[in-house]
């Protein structure tokens, strides 16, 4: 018998539910929305970073950058698996939705990235923000999601430290490099803060996701933890916070953002997949998916029916 929503809320704790549980559709849909968003973000982020494997300034950076992009695609695959286990959407449906512009993903990956100086904005700050969030999701109530997070967090530490290493190199480089890095930071900083979405009082999905244990921390708590860690880091490398959004330290020494200084109209345009450069990025990935369609076709038509009991030629 399907568990009722009150029972789900009562039992909601870290790694409480798995595919053997008959969960109500409301839970399965909320979990699917969250994990699909996460999976799509891994894929779109990897596509954004991929051109920089070629543009990396040294062989070490090239190796590390290609390893990182490979990891991110792998994270996408793990997450589509975790989402599929909820029985709401298949992997094919999620990939098709993403290609058609109906799949949602992280705001930062809707913006184009053009120069090497921009890479630490994703590889350090966005990945740092993502890792903050992912660390809390190791305690999510959907067990397959939590297990995926174990592997993701294991690998992600390398991404964040590598990203910081790129930033450290750039900020101790030539004046021109430092200036370009500062410019990239000013452009990306507001988007990076918006990574955590609107404040809790304006967040649409939080309450239910928190009640059923899918989400373990609120947007506000995550944003706070991120700012307290990463504002001092940015400053320690000589980056200056732009004038807007206004960011200041409160009486407790915690970093606070003037939320109204952020462009929320743009954020919601981005979130609805209506932001022009982002649409281009969605379409570019769709073309890549289409270009390898024949490979999928060959793989699927060659594969024997699932299960090792498929008849062999000699049987």
């Amino acid at each position: 018998m399907t568990m009722d929503i009150e029972t789900v809320k009562e039992r909601a704790g870290p790694r409480q539910f798995n595919p053997a549980d008959d969960l109500p559709e409301e839970y399965r849909k909320a979990a699917t929305r969250m994990i699909e968003f996460h999976a799509n973000s891994e894929i779109m982020g990897a596509y954004l970073e991929r051109p920089f494997i070629r543009q990396a300034p040294s062989i070490d950076r090239k190796l590390a950058f290609s390893a990182k992009v490979q990891d991110e695609i792998g994270h996408g695959q793990l997450l589509y698996r975790a989402a599929e286990t909820l029985g709401i959407k298949t992997r094919e449906e999620m990939l098709d939705d993403l290609a058609a512009g109906n799949g949602k993903f992280l705001n930062c990956f809707h913006y184009p990235m053009e120069s090497w100086e921009e890479t630490p904005m994703i590889a350090f700050f966005v990945d740092g923000a993502a890792m903050r969030r992912q660390a809390t999701l190791r305690r999510t109530s959907w067990e397959p999601y939590a297990h995926a997070m174990d592997k993701v967090c294991f690998e992600e530490g390398f991404h964040v430290k590598h990203g910081e290493d790129i930033l450290a190199t750039l900020m101790s480089g030539s004046r021109a490099e430092q200036r370009r890095t500062q410019e990239a930071f000013e452009e990306w900083w507001p988007r990076i803060i918006q990574f955590f979405g609107p404040t809790d009082d304006r967040s649409t999905h939080h309450d239910f996701a928190a009640d059923v244990g899918l989400k373990q921390m609120t947007n506000d708590e995550l944003r706070q933890a991120f700012l307290d860690m990463y504002v001092p880091k940015a400053r320690s490398y000589g980056l200056e916070l732009p004038e807007y959004p206004r960011v200041y330290q409160n009486d407790e020494g915690r970093w606070v953002v003037e939320e109204d200084d952020l462009d929320w109209d743009e954020f919601f345009t981005v979130a609805r997949n209506n932001y022009e450069p982002g649409v281009g990025q969605i379409d570019a990935r769709a073309r890549a998916q289409e270009a390898v369609e024949w490979v999928r076709g060959v793989v699927e038509s060659d594969a024997p029916a699932a299960g090792g009991q498929a008849p062999q030629a000699a049987d």
């Binding site: 530490g157 390398f158 009991q309």
Partner: protein
């Protein structure tokens, strides 16, 4: 026909099912019962999976060179000696990676 069933035990809810042995059984029902008796009695057990051995695919070091043998230091957190304070979750990843590296070296 009696088959061999590989047994995977999960100690506590939310943890991983890890391989712990196998049982002989004529069918899935019996395999579950044998597995519960042989592998679920002494150690704390929340759940057990049984899988017919011939349904398990295997690939080993004779077939393929697995990762971790060539120097891919750039993939590890330990390659980036930043001398800065790291976020708690980055520290945690760092510790897990150091542990994995240690085990790889002693393997």
């Amino acid at each position: 026909m009696t088959r061999i069933w590989e047994v995977f035990r999960q100690a506590e809810k939310g943890e991983y099912h890890t391989h712990c042995g196998n049982v002989h059984a004529p069918d899935r029902e019996m395999a579950k019962q044998f597995a519960a008796i042989q592998h679920g009695r002494r150690k704390p057990t929340n759940s057990i999976w049984v899988v017919p051995k011939d349904e398990v695919g295997e690939i080993d070091t004779d077939d393929v060179a697995f990762g971790g043998t060539t120097d891919k230091g750039y993939r590890w957190t330990t390659a980036y000696n930043l001398q800065t304070r790291q976020a708690e979750e980055v520290e945690e990843s760092d510790a897990e990676q150091q542990d994995a590296e240690k085990r790889r070296r002693t393997a």
